[in-house]
Subunit: 371 residues, 2 copies
Amino acid sequence: MEPASTEGQSDPPVRGVADRVVGVLGGGQLGKMLCQAASQMGIKVAILDPLKDCPANSVCHEHVVGSFNDGVAVREFAKRCDVLTVEIEHVDAVALEKLEKQGVVCEPKASAITIIQDKYRQKGHFSKFGIPMADFVEVDTLSSIEKAGEIFGYPLMVKSKRLAYDGRGNAVAHDKNELSSVVSSLGGFEHGLYVERWTPFAKELSVIVARSRDGCTVCYPVVETIHKDNICHLVEAPAQIPEKMKKLATSVAEKAIKSLEGAGVFAVELFLTNDNQVLLNEVAPRPHNSGHHTIEACYTSQYEQHLRAILGLPLGDPAMKAPAAIMYNILGEDEGDSGFVLAHQLIKRALNIPGASVHWYAKPGWFSPHT
Amino acid sequence: MEPASTEGQSDPPVRGVADRVVGVLGGGQLGKMLCQAASQMGIKVAILDPLKDCPANSVCHEHVVGSFNDGVAVREFAKRCDVLTVEIEHVDAVALEKLEKQGVVCEPKASAITIIQDKYRQKGHFSKFGIPMADFVEVDTLSSIEKAGEIFGYPLMVKSKRLAYDGRGNAVAHDKNELSSVVSSLGGFEHGLYVERWTPFAKELSVIVARSRDGCTVCYPVVETIHKDNICHLVEAPAQIPEKMKKLATSVAEKAIKSLEGAGVFAVELFLTNDNQVLLNEVAPRPHNSGHHTIEACYTSQYEQHLRAILGLPLGDPAMKAPAAIMYNILGEDEGDSGFVLAHQLIKRALNIPGASVHWYAKPGWFSPHT
């Protein structure tokens, strides 16, 4: 037995597994889960997020209220951190680049974030490295998008270069006549647009790749992601695809991440096409919602892995300790109280499933039953 | 992708998996781990602990600085909580009893804590329920302890009734001549002493039993605990003993807990004797360090289970999701800086073991590699 009353009275200060403060730009659910992993390891996390009640607020060591898009705020924030990282890529990457030149350790590197936060630039980068992707081209006038439509055919995927997530910033033109309205819906050409050849995929896959500060990489088992209204709805781990396709997906993901600089976990979203091609969709330079299940189902969660990676600790084992896992994302926030009631009914059902764990974002919850 | 900047802006307040504040008496490492489990589920935990920098401080929703032994402090603390629980049994149980009469929900019940916090009373209670234990008798004079020595033989285990943990409050008399010095070392008869017949055990076992508010119980797989200097040093899960002995240990543990009132997890420490008897050693009315491994190795950790139990949520699956696990407790605090250096060397080695996780108490760390 160990009573609390005598705990913490010993002289040496709390030092944790690594005696450095991790600064995280962003305090959403991914930041919260990073903080939870850090708490277990006694690692201190400071969060920069504009929202006072952001999800990570309740569990971080320190929350600096400010914008991760504001270079001055990021610079000030960096002073209290030993290593800077992100839980969102839409941060002031120019500020990070300047900080790096001043010797601040950013993991992953500002260059990786700069490339990734502009999806068109990201595609250009990966195509230089021979990563298979759907054809794409920048469009900046009606005639250029019409030309692209002629070449790629319809439906045509039109995308914003920046600040696109959860399907926001994506729109589909089903024929030439829809082009101008689709362009308007995305904020017009001045917003920065590109188009992609429509990819009729059999499955969407995701691979979390972790890279250590000394450049070693380990990959989590390939998962299948199922989206609903462009939001990740279900993750099946491992993906039910042939071993050969798993290997191909993993090698494409690893190759993509090796072309970027810096340590941490990266999520690589992929399409598996009907003719067994694996095409890169997009990359995130951080833990990802397609990796939530790693908390319960893998020896090392993506969050612990990210901390290990950016702190220069040895990478952990990404293997699954359960034969299979499902992550099911419950949403309710947009439906007001009735959404909450529904979410709570689903949560109650989840709590009755042997082996299921429920996680709560602090926006609504999600849970990951696994068997 | 989901940027942090838009999180938490939705109108409904954060409600979590259960919309009640859990008040925990004590903020040591067990309280900290309860808070970590609560954080994942979006459950708010308030802590009452006298130490400003107690382990749980960094991760609880609210920390009230005060003594869990002070009835007034406990009463005030209860006002902000929907359910009261403990992470240490040495709390003001009289205050809890009064609060219960006023309608405050305490889980487990004050009666269970009252029985358990006095080890002599605990033994008396369990013997009434036919739980097998080593013979014991109260001693309050030199002649009574000498008489006990004659009956039980030597070595003789002498124990304090109260505030005993990690071997503190226990002492061994090897013969009659040592009795008076052993009694003095335990603070004298006025401190409240009893003796136990020496139990030459083959193994020490532990079973975590969870009971829901509606009285259902589930038991975690039996583990073996190995103590070093009376502190839990190693936990092997599952215990390497015959199935028959596992069943016996589980049934003794379950029977013991069914004799106590209230919901939550309870730890039952047992001796397995050379002649295959299972004897109850002692019970804790809370999560226990012999159950740390449940975080990584079981579908539902003892901490999540405790929260589910006391909040009236369905109990989770206690089964192991890994075939085996080891918890190894690293201590370093008593050895000053050199202890820390040693602990950090051990932690570094642990981080290199595939499948190992490191947890940090905020006093020094412990880690639980499992394979």
